[in-house]
Each structure stands twice: as C-alpha cells, then as structure tokens.
Amino acid sequence: MTDGTVDGMAAPLLRVRGLAKHYPVRRGLFGRAAGSVRAVHDVSFDLAAGETLGLVGESGCGKTTTGRAVLRLIEPTAGQVTFDGADVRALGARDLRKLRRHMQLVFQDPFSSLNPRMTVGATVREGLTIHRLAEGAAADRRVRELLDEVGLRPEYAARYPHEFSGGQRQRVGIARALAVEPKLIVCDEPVSALDVSVQAQVVNLLVDLQRRRGLSYLFIAHDLSVVEHMADRVAVMYLGKIVELATSRALYAEPLMPYTQALLSAIPVARPGARRQRIVLQGDVPSPANPPTGCVFHPRCFHPAKDAACARLDPPLEEKAPGHWAACLKQAPTAVDWAAQQAAGGTRPPERFLPVLGTAPVATGAAS
C-alpha cells in the first residue's frame, strides 16, 4: 500500500501513510522516557470522496487515536496525512483552522460533547461565525435549515442540550458538523451510546446525508454489524495497527486475518438457533506499552500454520486478493517468502486459511 494507489484510487480525498502516535512512558524523579506506548503504529489507508471507511477494533486498538491524529486534534508522531491535496502535518495553525472547516468530527457521547450553557442554535451557529460563512438573519436561517435537515424542529434552536434525548443530541452534533459544509466527517462511535431504536434513526440519517451531500466518512466503531451496514470498506485494527483492510462485502464474507475471524465469530447474533462455531480467543489484548514482537496478534493466534516466524517477523499489510489487504505471514501470497520465514525459524509454509462463512469461521486448531 506504500505505492500510493489503493483500489486504483488516483487522488483520494484523504491519504494516510505510516501514521504513528507514540506516547512516552516516563519513570523516575526526572521523568526520563523509559519507553513508549505505541497507540498507533504505521497506519496507512485512503478514503475516496463520497466513501465510508469503517475503522473497527476493540478498546485500546488505536482507532480513536487514528481518527484524531488525522484531524491533528492529536499531533501525530510520524507519518503523512494528505487531505484534498494539502499536507495536513505541514500546515500552520491558521491554515489548519481553515482546513478544519472541511474535516469535522462527530463524537460518541452526545451528553458531554455539547456545551450545556449554549442553546443548540448557538452551538450550530458557532461554526458559521468562526468560518465567516453566514451572519445575522442569514445565519439564523441557516441554523433552522440545518436543524430541519437532521430531523429536528427548527424552533428547537432556542433550547438547551438537557432538554433533548440522546438521539436528538446526536442529531445536534451532526448539525454542528454539517454547518461548515465539510467534505469529511470523522464519526467516532456516533451511535454506541444510543439505544437500538434510536441508533437506527441516526444511522439512517448519516447514510441519507452522505447521499445528499457526497460526504466521506471515517466511521469509527466497535460494533461490527453497524459498520457492515454503513461502510464501503473496512479496516480492522489491533494493537495500533491495521491488520486487515477490504471491501465490506469481502471482509465479512471472507475474513483473512485470524483476528478478524475471531472478532466476527464473537458477535452475538440476534437469530436464535443459528448455531455457529465460535472462536473464543484466549487471554486479553497485550499492553501497547510492551507489544509482542513479530505479528502483534501471534500470542492469541489460532492459525493452523502459526510458527516461530510469526513471533519474529513483522507481517506487512499486503494485498492477498484484489483490494483485500491483510497482515499475515501465513496467509498466502506474501512477499515474506518461505525461505525468509524458515530463516526466522518458520516450520509451516503459508497456506490459504479461509473460514466457511464470515460469521461461521472454522474451528480452532482444526489442522496442526
């Protein structure tokens, strides 16, 4: 993926290359750096105009950090972020603020992400004022239009956040993001805090807005069923890295990384009697302050060909099938050839390891 073209995308709206965010761990009286937590490590992806890229993974995998580092709400440690042709990391404060108009964020918690002392009208209007998009009566009219667009009554502009339910507050958050007419919205778990019935309303609204306005979404979520519904392509993160990236259809039908297979099989499905084989991963996710050597997933991996090479060699994210990227030495084809794997202590050659179904992966240790 370092060659810069993914899916033949000539000029994506957002291009991220080798993004990293490391936090120093300080110890002792003088706070000497005694190592670092690799929250995000070498993350690369493209996002086309009008596309939704899902970013999934469990807590601590770095998905939120990635979303914020892209917007430079967190300053990345390394890597390149190109948005609409501009090198985001090279921008000064002034230019960055101008660019932010085109990249917005919708937060997870609609209870803490709205200022309780501002009416929702003032909240939505703030962006218009800062970016000098409208003022006076024109701004009032725009606020009413925006509220209407997200499914709230225009007269709600005079109310305060506490007068709204969670779903309504999330709509306000979306209206605030839309006010500045962005091209990209980073949605950080936008429906996780909502009840099922309300969640569906907000998901439908986001899909609808995308169609009407041609928005791109970086959709961060831990709920894989919601992501399947929303995303064109999905990136799976584990311990700060993207371990698999594919179209939504391919990822759910034919996950190549053992981790993705386990993740999909672990989701409880609201379909009683649909017995399926479940991969229950043993143990917890290792600490990002002390990540495993080689493949980050190898201590919990159940791929039948897992061997000593997995513990030593860092698997590159490579294209295993057209448009389907995965970081796994044992999933053929791989540039880390068999001779190199043997040199690192490998005893089992790479092999195709496919689950029967996206949600019904093969049992663990079927072959050994």
């Binding site: 469990e58 807590s59 499914g151 009554r153 339910s165 969670g166 779903g167 309504q168 009840d195 099922v196 019935s197 309300v198 969640q199 569906a200 309303q201 998901v203 439908n204 899909v207 831990h222 894989l224 069923s225 919601v226 399947e228 519904h229 939504s248 759910y252 386990a262 993740l263 999909l264 099989s265 672990a266 989701i267 409880p268 499905v269 609201a270 379909r271 009683p272 009697g273 479940r278 229950v280 991963l281 917890d284 996710v285 179904l357 996206g358 949600t359």
Partner: protein, 360 residues
C-alpha cells in the same frame, strides 16, 4: 476444591405436575418519589424464573429493567421505594416482607447479583481474594484459611490463570474481562439458587464478552443456577436465554421463548426493536426505526404507553391500558403473553400507518 454439583431439587411426589419457580416476581412496583413528581420506573412487573433456566430481560434505557433487578434484592435507596402489594417469592417466602437481618442471609448467598461495571462494584482497597473469601466468611462463618482456599478455587473455576497469585491482587491490577470473572466468582461462591446479572458483558469488548458469556453458561450448567440476564442486547439474549421478558416503560410488554419472540414478535415494540438492529450478513438499504423516544417515567401516557410510536395504534389504545393478553396457553411453563390490544383485534394488523411520533 471442586465445585459442588447441585442436585436437582427432589420434587415432592404429590406436586410433580407443577414445579414451583425458583423465583417469582409478582406485581412489582418501584416508584421514585422526587421533587419532579413520582417516577413509576417499575410499574407492575411480574415474571417467574424456573430452576436452572436462563431468563432474558430486555429493554432499552429507562424501561425499568435495572430497577427491577435491584428491587429483587431490595437494593433500592430513597427516594426510591418498593410499593406495597409487590412480592418477590423465593423458597417459600416473600423477600420484600423479610426483616433486613433475614434478608441478608439470602442476599449474596441464595440469590446473588452480578453488576455491569466491575470496577465500581469491586472494592479497590481489598484484594480480590479477600473480597470473594468474605462471602463464605459472612454467610457460613467459614474460617479464614478455608474461605481463602474457596476463593482461590472459585477464581480457578472461572478461568483465571494462576489463581493463587491473582487472589492477592487488587481490582485495578486486573483487566476488565478478569474483573468480570471475579464478579462472577463472587456471585457463585455460595452456589446460589438464583443469579441476577445486570448487563454483565456490556462494558466488555466483543471477544471478551464471548469468553464471559461462555463462562456464565458453563457455570450455570454445572451448578444448575437459575440466571436472570438483564440486557439491552438482543443478540446476547438470542444466544444465551431460553425465555425472554421484554420491558417497555416500566412494564412487561411481551413474554415468550427466544425462538417464538424472534420468529413471531407479538408486541409492536418487540417487532420494531427486532427490525431496527443491523444484523451481520444482512445488509439492508435503510434500517427500520421506531420513531420518537420513551416517555419520561414521571408521565407515562394513559392507555397504551407505546401508542405514539406504534404503527398500529387506534382509538382503543388511547382509551384502555392494555392488559398482558395470553397469546398461547402455558405449555412447558412458557406462557406467551403480549400487552397489546392486537391480541383481541388481530385484524388491526392490516391497518399499518405512520406512527404519531413520526409526524414531528
């Protein structure tokens, strides 16, 4: 120490046709008397749990499911109050009528609880071993050494590696999944007849949730415990429970076996809920939604509480509060019920329309 196997209770010869439920909640009303008015959070809830079964209680925020759980063990604090007339029948006595002293012999011993957030439910200044050992020390006056050994054995039984070392650790030293295992160990150490688990896996990641659900099912099989699983996640219910109680606005609106509930939901709320969840492998253009939101507990509407959000509602729904209609006779103890007038007028199902709440 091995987990003692619970023998199925020997049914008295004369009563073999009707085994009494392990726990019976009858007309439970828990109201919060606040300055803003009386919040009728739980408003006449009844259900039974049979010995050894898993009963799912589902509903969205504010439906009263957690308050129901807390009420069973009388863990409601003022301004909350369990109203007169409510009954929680367990082993031949009404838990709500017991003096506090006697209730303490039941709570954590015969009926135990697992909370959602293990970080707040565990005491941060005691080791997890001490916290588990405290339970048999209190309930059985077990000796220090013996109680400790049981705690370590329980930690091993819930799948914590190196239990003797982990028992000496504090909650903050454990991961979220391990803390929830500790909670389960604490709940099961006395081998209770009934365990109430309030969103036991909601705070956990999906792969850890799978571990914990598997553990709960396994422990339940081995110990024959009745499990009341309270959750908002219909996926969890579909995989774990045998029977389901659906709650809405402080009331039970539907009871059914899991298979029945998912194949032929009777209450429009259940129907809407099932249509609204995105399911893996079933991508749809748009998700069905339930318009509007749950009304506040201080002002339940008269008539049917779901009326404004319901695509079938008609005049009767505004005038008459629907009873819990019996849909199918109680066969194997799984009586099917729904709190909807459609049970009396099934032809109304043809009259689907835009709910009142959709016309904002």
């Amino acid at each position: 120490m091995p987990i003692p196997a619970r023998l199925p209770p020997a049914a008295p010869a004369a009563y073999t046709t009707a085994v009494p439920p392990a726990l019976s909640v009858q007309d439970l009303r828990t109201y919060f008397h606040t300055a803003a008015g009386v919040a009728r959070s739980v408003d006449g809830v009844s259900f039974d749990v049979d010995a050894g079964e898993t009963l799912g209680v589902v509903g969205e925020s504010g439906c009263g499911k957690s308050v129901t759980a807390l009420s069973i063990l009388r863990l409601i604090r003022p301004p909350g109050r369990i109203e007169a007339g409510s009954q929680i029948l367990f082993e031949g006595q009404d838990l709500l009528a017991l003096p506090e002293r006697e209730l303490r012999r039941v709570r954590g011993n015969r009926v135990a609880m697992i909370f959602q957030e293990p970080m707040t439910a565990l005491n941060p200044v005691f080791t997890v071993g001490d916290q588990i050992a405290e339970v048999p020390r209190v309930h059985e006056r077990a000796g220090r050494r013996q109680a400790w050994d049981r705690a370590v054995a329980m930690l091993e039984a819930v799948g914590i590696p190196d239990p003797a070392r982990r028992a000496r650790e504090y909650p903050h030293q454990l991961s979220g999944g391990m803390r929830q295992r500790v909670m389960i160990a604490m709940a099961l150490v006395m081998n209770p007849a009934v365990v109430i688990a309030d969103e036991p896996t909601t705070a956990l990641d999906v792969t850890i949730q799978a571990q914990v659900l598997e553990l709960l099912a396994d422990m339940q099989r081995r110990l024959g415990t009745a499990l009341v699983l309270i959750t908002h996640d219909l996926g969890v219910v579909a995989e774990v429970a045998r029977r389901v109680v659906v709650m809405y606005a402080g009331e039970v609106v539907e009871t059914a076996t899991v298979a029945e509930l998912f194949s032929t939901p009777q209450h429009p709320y259940t129907e809407g809920l099932l249509a609204a969840i995105p399911r893996l492998g079933e991508r749809r253009e748009t998700l069905a939604t339930i318009p509007g939101s749950v009304p506040p507990a201080t002002a339940w509407p008269a008539g049917c509480r779901f009326r404004d959000r319901c695509p079938y509602a008609w005049e009767r729904c505004a005038e008459e509060h629907p009873p819990l209609y019996e849909i199918a006779p109680a066969g194997d103890g799984a009586g099917r019920r729904a709190r909807c007038h459609l049970a009396a007028e099934p032809a109304r199902r043809a009259g689907r329309h835009l709910p009142l709440a959709a016309a904002r």
